[in-house]
Subunit: 369 residues, 2 copies
C-alpha cells in the first residue's frame, strides 16, 4: 500500500455551517477494484487511527498498518477478493486536512480557527472520495469504535451507497460518561501551558497534557479484568514500594509508555477536534431521541458486534441499535463476543471477530440486492 | 461541634521508615463519652473529607458536616447515645499535619519533602488520638471508600481496640484500575505549571490541574446509569450545539462546577499524598496476597456494605473480604445495596444504609464481648 492524496475540487460544507476549502483526503487502497466496482470495502478508522490500515509502505517498515491482522491477501478481509479503501478523517493529523493544516486565507495553520467538525462531516468527505474512485455502491463499510460511528452515519446518510455495514464496539450516540471523559482529557491538555490555546509549534508541543489525555482514554479502553490480569498490583522492576510519586506499579509504567508513544504520533489540536466530533455524535439528534425513526431509511444489511467487557460502548447500546433496525424490518445480525479485553477487544479478538466479518462479507458479496 | 487539636508528644513512625515530628491532629466530637468509655464511634473520612463530620460550627453556617444526614441527635448514628469522633487524616489539608504544614526543621512548608504516608499511618495517628481521649475499646469504626480502608486497617492493626467495624464501598486493596486513575489525576496536576513540583504559594495555585484531577475522579464516583439519568446528552441552557470547545453539555457544566468548588477547599499536594496512600493500600501486602491470612487476627464483628452500581469498588471485592473473614469464623454481615448512584451511593443512599448502620450499632452496643 502507498498513501495517496485526493484534493476536493469543491469546498466541503460542514454541519457547523462553515465551509472548508481545499480539503485534502489522505487515503490508501489494497486489492483491485473489479470491473463493475462491486467489491469495494471502506474501512473507517477509530480516534487515533489513520489511512494506513494494512500492509507496509516499505519492506523494512517495523510495523504494518493498524488492522493488518484483519486485512490482506487471504486474510479475513481478503484483498485478493475485495478492494479495500481507508482514508484519514478530516480533523485528523495523518495527511487529511485538519486543524494543523495551513488555512489558505491566512497562510498559517488553522489551529483553533479550524471549524468544529462532526462524524457526519467525516463521512461527507469519505463519500466524495468514494465518488471520485468511481464506486456507486460500496460492498460494505466496516469500522470499530469511532469508526463504527462513521459506519452507522454512512448507513443513515447514504443508504443507496452501501450494500452492507459492520459496526463494531460502537453506539448510535456518545454517552454522557464518554462526553465526561473527553471533557477531562481536553482539560488536561488545556492545563499544559505549551498547548497555548491551540497555537504551538514543533519546538514546544503540549506533550505532557496530551499524554495525560491519552493515558486517561487508555484506561477506558481496558477492562478491570484485563488490567487485573495483565498488571494486578505488580511493581515495576522492584520488590518494595519506593514511597514516592514516580512510577512504582507496572500499570503506571505501562500508562506512561502509552502516553509517550502517543505524543510521538498524534497532535493535540486534532485530539480536540476528533474528540469533539465524537461528543456531538448522536444519530437521533434530528428525531428527538427516537432511534427507530432515525434508522428508518437504512437499507443496507448490518452486522453489529459488541464485546462483553467493553464498558465504554456497552452491549446494551449495540442491542438497542439492532432492535431499532429490526423494528424497521431491516436485515441485521447482532453478536456480543465474550471477551475480557474491554473496548480494546475490537482490535484484539481478531480470530473470533475476523471469522464473523469474513463470512458476513462473503455472504453480502454473493447475494443479489 | 467545634474543631479541636491534639498535638502528639512523640513523633509518628511511618511505613516509609521516616518519622514525622510535631504532628497535629484536627478532630471533632459529638455526643458524650459514657462513664466506662464504651460508646465511642470513630468515623473515618474519604479522600476529600475532613474532621467536620456533622453539625454546624456556628448556627449561620450554610452547610453542616459532610455526614450530617447520618449522624446527630436521634439520627442513624445517634449522638444522644454514642460519642462520635472524627479526625482529619495525616497528609490532609484540613487541620491535621500534611504536606503544606511547616517543617520544623526548615521553618518552611514541607511540600514534596513531606514523607509519603499510607493508610496504616493515618490509622496510627488516629490510634494515638483515641488513646489520648481515654478510650480503650471503640464501640465501632465506621467509614466509606478511603474511610473504609482505614476501617479495615483498624480491624487488622488493633484488633483489641475495637468491638465492631462497618466498612462501606471499599476493598481490601486498591485495584490496578484505581491506581491507573490516580496516576492520570496526578499527571494532570503535574501538567499545570503552577504546581511547580509541589512548591507553590497562595498567589499561584495549580487550580486548573487540580480541577482536572477532581473532575476525573468525579466521573468514577458516578455510574453510567446515574449520569444518563441526571444529564443524558442534555445541553446546558441552549437548544443547539455551539460547535466549539466550551461547555455545551449539562454534564460538562456539572463537572466544571465540581472542579471549581473542589479547588476552593482542597490542596493539590494533599491530593498527591492522599491518593498515593490509597494506591499503596493492600491488606494482603504482608501475606503474599493471602487475604484469609491477612485478616486472621481480626476479632471485631464486621458489617460490609457495597453498592450494585459502584464500579470503583465493585461488590465482588467486598464479597471477597466477607468470605475471608468467614473462613476465619469471624462474625460478619455483608450486604449489597441495589443503587444506581455508583460509588457516591455511600453518601446518597442514606435511608437504606442508615437503618442498617443503626441496627448494627444498636446490636453491638447491647452484646457482651
Amino acid at each position: 500500500m502507498e498513501p495517496r492524496d485526493y484534493r476536493l475540487s469543491e469546498p466541503l460544507k460542514l454541519d457547523c455551517g462553515r465551509e472548508l476549502p481545499d480539503v485534502n483526503i489522505r487515503y490508501e487502497t489494497a486489492g483491485t477494484l473489479n470491473e463493475d466496482a462491486s467489491n469495494a470495502v471502506l474501512i473507517t478508522h477509530a480516534l487515533s487511527g489513520d489511512a494506513h490500515v494494512c500492509g507496509r509502505h516499505a519492506p523494512e517498515d517495523p510495523k504494518p498498518g493498524w488492522w493488518d491482522n484483519m486485512i490482506g491477501p487471504g486474510k479475513y478481509i481478503d484483498t485478493d477478493k475485495y478492494f479495500v479503501i481507508c482514508s484519514n478523517v478530516i480533523g485528523g493529523c495523518s495527511g487529511t486536512t485538519g486543524p494543523r493544516s495551513v488555512d489558505p486565507a491566512t497562510g498559517k495553520p488553522y489551529n483553533l480557527n479550524f471549524p468544529v467538525i462532526t462524524v457526519r462531516d467525516m463521512v461527507r468527505a469519505q463519500k466524495r472520495l468514494v465518488d471520485h474512485l468511481g464506486i456507486k455502491k460500496l460492498l460494505a463499510v466496516v469500522g470499530g469504535s469511532m469508526g463504527g460511528m462513521q459506519v452507522l452515519q454512512w448507513a443513515v446518510s447514504y443508504p443507496e451507497s452501501l450494500k452492507s455495514f459492520i459496526a463494531i464496539a460502537t453506539a448510535c450516540q456518545f454517552s454522557p460518561q464518554n462526553i465526561a471523559f473527553d471533557w477531562v482529557a481536553r482539560e488536561a491538555i488545556k492545563a499544559d501551558p505549551d498547548w497555548n490555546n491551540g497555537d504551538y509549534n514543533g519546538d514546544r508541543t503540549p506533550d505532557r497534557g496530551l499524554a495525560a489525555a491519552r493515558m486517561l482514554a487508555h484506561i477506558t479502553y481496558l477492562s478491570e479484568e484485563s488490567l487485573g490480569r495483565k498488571f494486578g498490583r505488580n511493581l515495576q522492576d522492584k520488590q518494595d514500594y519506593d514511597y514516592d510519586f514516580d512510577r512504582d506499579f507496572a500499570v503506571e509504567s505501562y500508562l506512561q509508555h502509552q502516553g509517550k508513544r502517543f505524543v510521538e504520533r498524534f497532535d493535540a489540536d486534532s485530539y480536540f477536534y476528533i474528540t469533539r466530533a465524537t461528543d456531538y455524535f448522536d444519530l437521533t439528534a434530528e428525531t428527538g431521541g427516537n432511534l427507530v425513526k432515525a434508522v428508518k431509511d437504512v437499507t443496507a444489511a448490518g452486522m453489529i458486534v459488541s464485546f462483553s467487557s467493553d464498558w465504554l460502548f456497552p452491549t446494551a447500546q449495540s442491542k438497542r441499535l439492532a432492535d431499532a433496525l429490526l423494528r424497521n424490518r431491516r436485515e441485521v445480525t447482532f453478536c456480543e463476543i465474550k471477551s475480557g479485553y474491554g473496548h480494546d477487544a475490537f482490535l484484539l479478538e481478531v480470530e473470533t471477530l475476523g471469522r464473523m466479518v469474513r463470512d458476513f462479507l462473503h455472504h453480502q458479496a454473493e447475494v443479489e440486492k
